[in-house]
Assembly symmetry: C2
Homo-oligomer: 341 residues x 2
Amino acid sequence: MHNITVALDAMGGDFGPSVTVPAAVQALSLFPELKVIVVGDKPSIEQHILTLGYGDNPRLSVVHSDRIISNTEKPSFALRHSRDTSMRIALDLVESDQADACISCGNTGALMALSRFRLKLLPGIDRPALVAALPSASGQKTWMLDLGANASADAESLFQFAVMGSALAEQHLATKPRVAILNIGAEEIKGNDLVKRCAEMMSQTPSINYIGYIEGNEILHDVADVVVCDGFVGNTVLKASEGTAQLFLNKLKARLGASTFKGWIARILFSDLINEVKTLNPDQYNGASLLGLRGIVIKSHGSADVSALVHAIGEAVHEVKRQVPNKISDRLEAVLLERQY
Amino acid sequence: MHNITVALDAMGGDFGPSVTVPAAVQALSLFPELKVIVVGDKPSIEQHILTLGYGDNPRLSVVHSDRIISNTEKPSFALRHSRDTSMRIALDLVESDQADACISCGNTGALMALSRFRLKLLPGIDRPALVAALPSASGQKTWMLDLGANASADAESLFQFAVMGSALAEQHLATKPRVAILNIGAEEIKGNDLVKRCAEMMSQTPSINYIGYIEGNEILHDVADVVVCDGFVGNTVLKASEGTAQLFLNKLKARLGASTFKGWIARILFSDLINEVKTLNPDQYNGASLLGLRGIVIKSHGSADVSALVHAIGEAVHEVKRQVPNKISDRLEAVLLERQY
């Protein structure tokens, strides 16, 4: 069994070391091959390790950083002033091969800019993309990208997102992923130039299992394994789904939480319904991957709790094992060859 | 009390006269000032009127059409071959002032193209927009546009959508509508050029109560009264929300429908929950308005049942009473004057 080392930016997110350190410790117990380098304010991190009663362990090390990138910093500013920050040092550990992947709950824009600057793009990739696994009606996952790494895209980028998403989904599925383009109508004639041009490229690429357009209401209904769209659309669509799910959850919780006889019966009979329904929230899987880089970078929600962050670390472990960046490179090369003929 | 006459395309949608005729009759009993001209295959419509036991009534008249526009027809084809179709005749009744509004459950693309061709755009409007009222957490409505009348937009169009949406929402609200632009982040720096340029125009227009950017998860949470975005984003976001809501409803229905003791108790205690939760589905209000035209056109869902279509007819009645196209014109003129100074 090969060791897998991840660099964890301990300072990002809403809770800092009080969540990141327990998550690191929990991940170590879950993944026997894992080593974690926790990057951040050393005294604070060591205090949290002590509090957990977790003694010296060669699998858990701490690298000190003096500064953090705040959530309100612009990516361009963060890029120029990243030295000595926990996020930058965690990425540098990947760049220098001391770690196999980086995980951060910090400023998304800064993480994307810094990742691109430190790790560089894979050959043939013009822009990185943020991808996440969404739940679906049937219990299957659906990968959607781009979720906001870019505020706009051209057809070539959209096509590259499809190739990357397909290569990633392949590492999770037994079958060839069904790839669809998100559009405003399933008919050939509908949509803007961007999706039409991308559709043309997809249909000329036999190695991608392109199934055509899908509409927004089909995303969570297991119609496709990979859904491709530009970052503006992906981000707004995902957040709108999360907002809708939250509305329903709140309503259900209010019903089950009522201090009435009905509420009491409801809690006895249906306390599991909330959990069942929660699994339908697009927000449930924490850990979005930044694809297209020469290294593995996982973005966790800023508001992630311990178990959510452990899930994001697990995604990093999975991608290291499967060597996702290499798989993307290989797939891209094959596609480019196809397109030359 | 002034009479209000609406022309109802009886042939569009999934069910034709079996839904449109009962909806017309129901609307007549709800709105005493209403007259309905039902346009479509006369023998079939008259048969349905007879079946309902609804005798001769000067408030309900039938105009015969030989043909219908199918749901699969391209808008450009429909435009060239619209003569003698129910949709075209219903729109012509508005154009010739024989009706105050047109309602159709038919082909959306064809309805948009034909409406623009027959009724023309209001002065100062470059593109029409499809707007609908969405439910929100607090029970208030939120108007969102464009929902797909255009597959793309420029900043000037987006700005016009904001003016039109604000003028429409004003006719429903007691306060000045809060207008927001949908974006991928609330910070000033985020988003694409389109939303940034539109935001600049909005902030220079005092007569619009512009409150800034909102993100997708806030749409249904009563943060803004009017949400502006391009038609591609609006359509995918709305449908994704509907898809998420449907997923939850299905889960809940399965639980309440189970033929077990738990299911039996659940039905007794929570049969009203389904209805309560249904009110959160963005799909609940039928009747999207096509704004920016010199006439009132309401698009109903193709799958609308009788009560949903009655809701769409009610929206038409409301817009006629409030003279929405005039209100939009006035508001636009005021805004253009503001921008000259």
